[in-house]
């Protein structure tokens, strides 16, 4: 079949209209829509793990929150056991009372030094406790009790000398450190 000139022009026009239709559809309708879908899909892909991580973080913290009171009870008890006020006001009388309760009548306590402790919220104080007259066994018992009853206290140095005037008694000096609230 031989096409006429007019028919060829009409076919050409139809093809041109189809091409314009295709261009308009893909460039201005389907293209932006697919771009938006792509953006939203990648947004979902990035948000989902973030939300999952956030939920995991919240539940982990809640779990830790349940365990924390038990885990920090020791530290809190120790903090609560430290009297308020200046240590120089309460520590020497405390030592005097302690040794008196163990049958050692006299002891004097002096502050040697004070420094910040690596443990946050605490200061380290070093004291010299002088016990001029004590028998060895009661002194040993007192030192044992002191170590067991005062967890914040650390005896750094012990010096026990025989008393010159009475061989039954000893003169003891303890250098000890203790932690107080800063």
């Amino acid at each position: 079949m031989k096409l006429e000139q007019a028919q060829i022009k009409k076919i050409g026009l139809s093809v041109a209209v189809l091409a314009v239709l295709l261009y308009v559809y893909f460039a201005f309708l389907l293209g932006p829509l697919q771009q938006a879908v792509h953006n939203q899909t990648s947004g979902i892909a990035s948000l989902e793990p973030q939300i999952a991580d956030a939920k995991k973080q919240i539940s982990k913290t809640a779990e830790l929150e349940k365990q924390a009171p038990q885990a920090t009870a020791f530290l809190n008890n120790l903090k609560n056991s430290i009297p308020d006020g200046a240590p120089i006001a309460w520590f020497p009388p405390k030592m005097a009372d302690f040794f008196r309760s163990h049958g050692i009548g006299k002891c004097t306590t002096h502050l040697i030094s004070e420094s910040a402790d690596p443990m946050p919220g605490f200061r380290k104080l070093v004291w010299s406790v002088d016990v001029p007259k004590a028998e060895f066994i009661p002194l040993g018992v007192a030192i044992s009790s002191l170590e067991n009853e005062e967890p914040l206290l650390n005896i750094l140095n012990v010096s026990i000398d025989a008393a010159r005037e009475d061989a039954q008694y000893q003169h003891a000096t303890l250098i000890l450190s203790t932690l107080v609230k800063s």
Binding site: V17, Q57, I58, K60, F74, L75, N154, V158, A162
Partner: protein
């Protein structure tokens, strides 16, 4: 056979030509394609709307959960700090050097014939120090007072050795004395002594060698 004359053939030819008009057919084809595109567009729009709804839902969830997660993270760090501080405190309390057992062992090891004049001891200075130093001075009285002093050193060394990781002891001084003492009705010569005990109270901290130095050391061996 009757003669049949089609008087409408012109009209029919024009009708056929109109029906086979390429422009008309082309426009019909374009219309079909356009309808297909519109249908496809609506399907795509529906899918996009569904994804958009899901996305905006997730965005809302994220915007509400994100501050809570940040707060939870900060709280977690705070709690971890408190737990670490508590653990460090427990370690510090448990890691103290206890003097009472040392004094008890000295008391058990020293016989009546020996009088201690001085007991001095230093706890390990810090976390890295592993040794505690104990110095004991005294007077031993026996027919052989030096031997008695040595027996005391050995006894204390042995008793402390059973309690601690390692104990090394030496006499810093051991001198015969002019003093004579009365013990159980006997006159006994005396010797004064000073002994030092190095007590290892904890294991040394092993520092890992750098790989290159380790390899050289192995090659040298």
């Amino acid at each position: 056979m009757p003669l049949h004359v089609n008087l409408y053939h012109e009209v029919q030819r024009q009708e056929l030509a109109r029906r086979r008009d390429p422009l008309r057919l082309g426009m019909l084809a374009v219309l079909v394609v356009a309808i297909g595109f519109v249908a496809n567009y609506f399907v795509a729009l529906g899918r996009s709307h569904s994804i958009g709804t899901q996305y905006s839902g997730l965005e809302d969830e994220w915007s509400s959960i994100e501050p809570k997660a940040k707060e939870a993270k900060a709280r977690q760090e705070e709690l971890n700090g408190e737990i670490a501080a508590s653990d460090a405190m427990v370690k510090s309390v448990d890691g103290r050097f206890y003097w009472a057992p040392v004094l008890d062992e000295i008391l058990k090891a020293v016989p009546r014939s020996v009088q201690l004049t001085h007991v001095g001891a230093d706890a390990p200075g810090d976390d890295k120090a592993i040794n505690s130093v104990l110095t004991i001075s005294g007077i031993s009285s026996a027919p052989e007072p030096r031997k008695e002093a040595e027996a005391v050193r050995t006894a204390i060394d042995s008793r402390l050795g059973s309690k601690f990781k390692h104990v090394a002891s030496v006499f810093k001084a051991l001198d015969d004395s002019d003093q004579i003492v009365m013990l159980d009705g006997r006159r006994l010569p005396t010797a004064s002594f000073t002994m030092e005990f190095q007590i290892q109270v904890r294991d040394p901290i092993v520092v890992a060698q750098p790989a290159a130095r380790k390899a050289r050391a192995e090659a040298a061996e």
